[in-house]
């Protein structure tokens, strides 16, 4: 037995985690080992420490043995550190005297040999015992919450989140990059599975957003910079110059009609048509204020024209307008930046980008839409003929780890079905064929929808991924296969529609860097936990919604947006939040005031106390990252409960 050199009374609790730990780690041996420590007053093991009886057992031991340090040997701290710290606090022991020794993820799960596993588990627990010996009681830093939310992206996801938060009485700043809110949903014709008109259900919501007194809308704007942390973010917004005085503009549209430069590709119609240099993306746009696209404007390019300026009644054109910067403070952020389709040039085997009559799904939506370039008559781009045979190719670029994207884009099965069906409604004597690999129609009424396409609408489903599309005369020939019949198949089609893979919104990487949040390998935003925290990011106070996280349809997007709004509201409804007290400290006697730490701190939490001429820490801003501690040349900076002294002992314990 080692001598008790301090007045510590530590409890060591070893969890079996069912058999997760116990099958590779001898939990009895652990108890035996640590009961030898003079400052370990109590040790025991139990099947599930996190369960109610498990927690009761710990609580009772804390009280009975008057423990002043706690080591729980169990799973990763990301899972149950909070659980046990809360328990500790509730049992009268400061939460920061409780530490987790991870013997599951770092030991039992990655080893097979029980003897070796046990040895390693002992080492892991030993280091944590060392740490706890020198842990101090800490009190969380209290921070007031700014009761305002920021929503980035105003597609259906961002709009829904903003409306929910606003309806609960909280202020929302809604920032949208493009000139109008609405996102991709505004481009859709009718929506599965009920075939209700997308614009009819969307535009009223857009108006709600515009009129809601709690929502401040910044369109044609982007996030320039973000500082601070949960409860208190400082955001800088760049409001790009529209070259229009928004106060004066009445939205009459005469400028748009008179603009002579009409060659720019129309983004809203997915490049099927062109638009003027001064434009409103679509008639129902919110706000209904035009934008001048500098690249195509004759004034900006050639110093000529200025026709819009001449025709504008209220004199709202402002060629000298500059980008504006707005600073806002918010407590919570919802990121809803949506998606794009895999670019036009990618699918070379399908002649995409080369043949006009090979188009993507969103282009087909525009051809179907009553507000589209053909007013809802399906006419193909090359010669405006009504196509009589249309081939739809699913999984174009999806489920293709070798060349494109490995994941399933999730919504294409459903919209391909919808496309084929709507096409039949528009062109009753037309034929439609869908090449699919698997049909994924999990959703309320979805399977029935696909069945209807097959049974009632005579859509021909062919199972297989086509190899090639090429032009022959005025036909697009598709070389495919039907694996169910084992036949190679050729279809001479008039139009080919590719269900291109859904990818994260172009340009979102920059935003992500500014927000310091994470993405998966494909660039979709990462959730904090795939099952239990699906709308939170790993950065507290930042939530996510819609296709920015993964491909999904409108119902799921809306549900998730409401979920993230609820999470944001939870945060905004409390007055103060507690910030981890594991912050940096400065030893006044050692600090020389060299200021090295000030430059190293990524959170601007360091400043110089002018009177004492030493560095100090703003505990509210400090995230406990430790950069300053490692940078400090005089060892004056230490991080609470992660001191050099503690680390030294921990390392010794491992090496013993």
């Amino acid at each position: 037995m080692t001598e008790n050199k301090n007045d510590k009374k530590i409890g060591v609790f070893v969890c079996h985690c069912g058999i997760n730990i116990a099958s590779t780690v001898d939990v009895d041996k652990l108890v035996e080992e640590f009961s030898k420590y003079s400052d370990v007053s109590h040790t025991e093991n139990y099947k599930y420490m996190c369960s109610d009886p498990g927690q009761k057992l710990i609580s009772a031991a804390i009280k009975k043995h008057k423990l002043n340090g706690l080591v729980i040997a169990c799973c990763s701290p990301t899972l149950h550190e909070n659980t046990f710290r809360r328990l500790s606090e509730n049992s009268g022991l400061n939460a920061y005297l409780c530490e987790i020794a991870n013997i599951r993820e770092q030991c039992s799960w990655v080893h097979e040999d029980k003897t070796e596993g046990t040895k390693k588990a002992i080492k892991i627990v030993k280091t944590i015992v060392e740490k706890v010996r020198k842990n101090e009681s800490l009190t969380p830093v209290e921070v007031p919450v700014t009761k305002k939310a920021l929503v980035i992206g105003a597609g259906i996801a961002g709009m829904q989140a903003a409306l929910d938060i606003a309806d609960a009485g909280k202020k929302v700043i809604l920032v949208e990059k493009s000139p109008s809110i609405g996102g991709h949903m505004a481009q859709l014709s009718e929506t599965f599975p009920t075939l209700d008109c997308s614009q009819c259900i969307l535009t009223p919501k857009m108006v709600d957003v515009a009129q809601n007194p709690n929502i401040t809308l910044y369109t044609y704007s982007e996030i320039e910079d973000l500082e601070g942390c949960v409860g208190n973010f400082k955001v800088k917004i760049r409001k790009k110059a529209r070259y229009i005085d928004e106060e004066l503009c009445t939205g009459c549209g005469i400028c748009v009609n008179k603009c002579p430069s009409k060659k720019a590709l129309d983004e809203f119609n997915v490049e099927l048509t062109t638009r003027p240099a001064i434009y409103v993306p679509f008639p129902q746009a919110v706000p209904n204020i035009p934008v001048i696209d500098k690249e195509n404007c004759l004034f900006f390019q050639k110093d000529a024209c200025r026709i819009c300026e001449k025709v504008c009644g209220p004199k709202a054109i402002r060629f000298d307008q500059e980008d504006e910067f707005i600073e806002e403070e918010v407590g919570a952020i919802v990121v809803a930046t949506g998606y794009d389709l895999l670019p036009i040039t990618e699918m070379r085997e399908y002649g995409y980008g080369k043949y006009k009559d090979v188009i993507n799904g969103l282009q087909f939506e525009r051809l179907l839409s009553a507000s589209g370039p053909t007013e809802g008559e399906v006419r193909r781009p090359s010669d405006s003929k009504i196509p009589k045979d249309v081939v739809f190719i699913q999984c174009s670029g999806s489920r293709n780890p070798e060349y494109y994207k490995s994941y399933c884009s999730k919504i294409c099965c459903m919209y391909a079905s919808k496309h084929a069906m709507l096409y039949k409604h528009r062109v009753p004597d037309g034929h439609s064929y869908i090449f699919y690999i698997d049909i994924r129609s999990g959703g309320k009424g979805y399977e029935e929808f696909v069945q209807r396409a097959q049974e009632e609408e005579n859509v021909v489903y062919l199972r297989g991924r086509p190899a090639k599309v090429y032009q022959e005369g005025d036909k697009m020939v598709v070389w495919g296969v039907d694996t169910l019949s084992g036949q190679q198949i050729t279809i001479k089609a008039d139009l080919v529609v590719l269900a291109q893979a859904i990818i994260p919104r172009n340009g979102v990487e920059e935003l992500i860097k500014k927000l310091k949040i994470q993405t998966d390998e494909h660039g979709f935003l990462s959730e904090a936990h795939p099952k239990l925290r699906p709308v939170e990011t790993n950065t507290s106070g930042i939530f996510l919604a819609g296709c920015a996280q993964a491909p999904r349809d409108i119902p799921e997007t809306v549900a998730q947006a409401s979920g993230s709004a609820a999470k944001a509201l939870t945060l905004l409804s409390i007055d103060k939040i507690h910030h981890l007290p594991i912050v940096a400290t400065v030893d006044e006697d050692l600090c020389s005031g060299c200021e090295i730490c000030i430059g190293t701190c990524p959170y601007s939490a360091r400043e110089i106390d002018e009177e004492k001429k030493i560095a100090i820490v703003n505990e509210v801003l400090c995230e406990g990252c430790g950069s300053c501690v490692s940078a400090c040349p005089s060892s004056a900076s230490q991080q609470k409960n992660f001191t050099d002294g503690q680390f030294e002992e921990m390392i010794k314990a491992i090496l013993e």
């Binding site: 070379r348 085997e349 002649g351 080369k354 090639k468 090429y470 032009q471 022959e472 020939v477 070389w479």
Partner: protein
């Protein structure tokens, strides 16, 4: 005159002698001598695909040792299959030291050890990248006069992606050469497909079907002739037209050229009788001047 080490391969000495001669003659016009290796052997013709079959790469690697013996670090090929085989074997040993060591051990009698440091070239990309098509266009003496050609790439210059000389789905290199020579090109979906390859030995019918589809496809797009880069494609598409005609009496024949024959023609080199004799369908019928 700049010299480049040149590996002919068996077929360029027999059924594709016209390919070789036209290439050598043409390159001389650009002050380049394709200097045949003193010693060489068959490359093996197809890259051995079995992972456990290193033996079949020895023939290819031995030729690369010959290149080193002639103090060169690059070797020009014309035959698409030789290019494919040499280049892939080279890449295999380049990326796998163990394989390289084994092969060197096996060939211990060779004077040199191979270090996987030879570049395998093919004439087509060389024309595009080094000579350049614009320079070729300037040297044209006899224009192809808007004759419509259908390019036939076949497989071995485009696949697999490690050795591709152009976009594997939408190649343009042959078309661009023809355009430089004053000809016209038509597009067919078959340009990058297979001619039936070695099936021509024992399953002539497979090749006949391919030949029919490919030639008919070219004709439907208005082509008057085929231009190719592979001696096996050339044989199948040209000589197998005989069997194709036998099977399909309505089939209309079409001449098939090596790109180098057209290059030579354009540069004003005489289209020799010996070249013509190696063709099945009369090649000269399409020349209007």
């Amino acid at each position: 005159m700049k010299k480049i080490a040149y590996y002919p391969g068996c077929t360029l000495k027999t059924t594709a002698a016209n390919f070789e001669e036209s290439a050598i003659e043409s390159m001389k016009k650009f002050d380049i001598e394709l200097e045949e290796l003193d010693r060489w052997n068959c490359c093996g013709t197809v890259f051995s695909l079995a992972t456990d079959d290193l033996m079949h790469h020895i023939a290819a690697i031995r030729n690369l040792i010959r290149v080193k013996e002639e103090k060169s670090n690059q070797v020009m090929t014309l035959c698409a299959m030789c290019y494919n085989t040499l280049k892939r074997s080279n890449q295999r040993v380049k990326s796998n030291q163990e394989d390289l060591d084994k092969i060197n051990d096996f060939m211990y009698k060779e004077d040199l050890n191979y270090n996987a440091d030879v570049d395998v070239l093919h004439l087509l990309p060389y024309l595009r990248d080094e000579i350049t098509f614009s320079k070729i266009a300037k040297r044209v003496k006899k224009s192809l006069n808007d004759i419509k050609f259908s390019a036939f790439y076949g497989c071995t210059l485009l696949r697999p992606k490690e050795i591709q000389i152009d976009d594997p789905f939408m190649p343009t290199i042959l078309e661009n050469l023809i355009t430089a020579l004053g000809g016209e090109t038509v597009e067919t979906p078959y340009a990058i497909e297979c001619c039936g390859a070695y099936q021509t030995v024992n399953q002539v019918d497979v090749v006949v079907e391919r030949t029919k589809v490919i030639i008919d496809g070219a004709r439907n797009q208005g082509a008057e002739a085929i231009v190719t880069s592979c001696p096996l494609c050339a044989f199948n598409l040209d000589h197998r037209q005989k069997e194709t005609k036998k099977k399909y009496s309505k089939f209309i024949e079409m001449p098939v050229f090596y790109f180098t024959e057209l290059l030579a023609y354009g540069l004003g080199i005489e289209f020799k009788k010996e070249w013509k004799d190696l063709h099945y369908v009369d090649p000269l019928s399409i020349f209007k001047n």
